[in-house]
Amino acid sequence: MTDPVTACDGQGPPVDLENQPVIVEVRNVNKAYLRGSHVIPVLQEINFDIREGEFLALMGPSGSGKSTLLNLIAGIDKVDSGTIVIGGVDITALDETELAHWRATHVGFIFQFYNLIPVLTAFENVELPLQLTGLTRTERREHVEMALHVVNLSHRMDHYPSQLSGGEQQRVAIARAVVTDPTILVADEPTGDLDRVSAQEIMSLMCRLSRESGKTIIMVTHDPKAAEAAQVIRHLDKGYLNNAHS
């Protein structure tokens, strides 16, 4: 993964963002944490948009608030103030149950440490999000096989996570993230726990999802090389978003 052009090479042209509608609107978002009696501001007055099909990399040093911002967009944390509208839904107005339902249908998650369930096979891990849908067993099987085919792991579907390499586990996690065909994919340091070769494979896969499938991807990383695969890079520093983006 030394060259982002290599990672996305041969996977079609990037999506033309100018003609794409805005899918994520982040407005005046503030977030702080309490450490004992101290209030630590993590995000301050964050404003930006993400267009449909955009591959965005959020960068910044440790503690800059990038993972917190990702969690807020993914609906797994709550803003202190401000609004986040995704696909026309103001997720800051949703209660826990509504948010859980929204996440299940609109967000695919890719974590740094894969977060697969160790007692489930690759197939069963990918099938997990589909259990919350009304799909039949046969339909679920078709979706899972398709997702595992996309990440080129059809032959490992009966293996448990402990029987897979780190790169393979992350590919299973990506299959789990895309199997419900979510509105956005969020990835928190997806290559952070991988060796160079595996990291390159993962970035190549994400490029493919972006360019061939038109997925909207928001990725947190502090690996500049991984970020180069993204179309847009935004920087966070001490809770502020640098509005100049590349």
């Binding site: 944390d77 339902h101 299940a104 740094q112 440490f113 369930i117 007692v119 069963e124 999000p129």
Partner: protein, 385 residues
């Protein structure tokens, strides 16, 4: 279905830990079941009592006798339809460790009063016709290898001497609540011997056992009998057979309460052990629960996983424990049958075992579930890596 598979696989992620926890529950349920069975065995005599039978004894104490002459007056009391009498004989067969209850009784009325002692007709006739004949319970006969026609010698403790009997009948219990470890023989044999050897002890009975026409008459009949012998040299105390048996049990009530408390303490201890296991389990998996929540699974699903696993472990141990209680109780009965003649696991004990197992599973899952459901996803995910 997937959830069930998931919670069973989760339960065996730490095989040693789960195995030891199940073993602990098994032992606790086994101990609980055995203690409950022991308490029930203590009350077996009370439970087997008939509401149609009253016991009359000396009002001062059971060790003081009553005159045989009372029998005619008792018979005249309205509501009484059968009068029998007897003495606790307290004989020893070969040596004291071979203890079993043995009585001298008026045979014809006694057999009529106790239809739950099932005796074949021929043997009954043979017993009634032989003044030195005795009836032994099936269990005691099997234990000592007695057969009908065998001679048995008991060494008298209350009534000195060697007493020889011929086993004329072997009784079986009508149901399993009947004590099959007793031996009884003709009171006349005892009385006639007393007349020869210790005349002052002759014509004295230890108790009267009477049959009444209707259990509702028990109070009235008791009052009448006791009033009849008021201000005599041997005043009577008449009570139902149940109350009579209960008076023996109440002598050891403190022990029974202690046994019951211990059985509850065992359950509380195992509850703490399983709760600890589940707390460790949930703490280790808090990141996974956060992943489930991230994917959209709700608190109910997480609660189902933890409670399900807790109940699975608890009920597996309970099932094994219940399964073991029966053979262990059987072995215990074989070994100490003379002290606990009625020692079997009652259905209520099994229900209590199951209730205890469910309670342990639910209580053990309570705190870990609350913690897993309440934790914020972001905090849970932070625990990974």
């Amino acid at each position: 279905m997937r959830t069930l598979k998931l919670l069973i696989r989760n339960a065996f992620r730490h095989k040693l830990r789960t195995g030891l926890t199940i073993l602990g529950i098994t032992i606790a349920i086994l101990a609980f079941g055995m203690l409950r069975t022991m308490v029930n065995a203590w009350y077996a005599g009370v439970e087997a009592s008939s509401a149609n039978r009253l016991v009359i004894r000396n009002s001062i104490s059971l060790v003081f006798p009553l005159p045989l002459a009372y029998k005619d007056k008792i018979r005249q009391v309205s509501g009484v339809n059968l009068v029998s009498w007897g003495n606790w004989f307290g004989g020893v067969y070969i040596e004291e460790k071979n203890f079993f209850p043995n009585f001298a009784v008026e045979p014809k009325t006694y057999v009529a009063l106790y239809p739950e002692y099932v005796i074949p007709d021929l043997q009954k006739t043979s017993f009634l016709n032989d003044r030195k004949g005795a009836v032994a319970g099936k269990k005691i006969a099997e234990k000592f290898g007695w057969k009908v026609g065998d001679s048995v010698v008991l060494k008298g403790t209350i009534f000195p001497g060697n007493w020889e009997f011929t086993i004329r009948a072997i009784y079986k219990g009508r149901d399993r609540s009947v004590d099959e470890t007793q031996l009884f023989f003709h009171w006349d044999y005892l009385n006639e011997t007393m007349k020869k050897t210790t005349p002052r002890r002759a014509d004295q009975v230890g108790f009267y056992m009477i049959g009444i026409m209707n259990p509702n008459l028990a109070g009235e009949v008791s009052t009448t009998i006791d009033a009849t012998f008021k201000n005599s040299l041997a005043e009577t105390l008449t009570e139902t057979e149940k109350a009579f048996q209960m008076s023996f049990v109440s002598m050891t009530e403190a022990i029974l309460i202690a046994i019951q408390l211990v059985s509850i303490v065992i359950i509380v201890i195992i509850m703490a052990v399983v709760a600890n296991t589940m707390a460790m389990t949930a703490r280790e998996r808090i990141g996974e629960y956060a992943v489930f929540k991230t994917l959209g699974f709700g608190g109910w699903f997480i609660a189902g996983l933890i409670f399900g696993e807790s109940l699975f472990i608890s009920l597996t141990g309970t099932a094994i424990g219940i399964g073991l209680t029966f053979p262990v109780a059987e072995a215990f009965h074989d070994y100490l049958g003379t002290y606990f003649p009625i020692f079997f696991v009652e259905r209520e004990t099994v229900y209590m075992d199951i209730a205890a197992g469910v309670l342990v599973g639910l209580v053990a899952g309570l705190f870990p579930t609350w913690r897993a459901v309440k934790i914020r996803i972001a905090d849970g995910l932070r625990r990974i890596g």
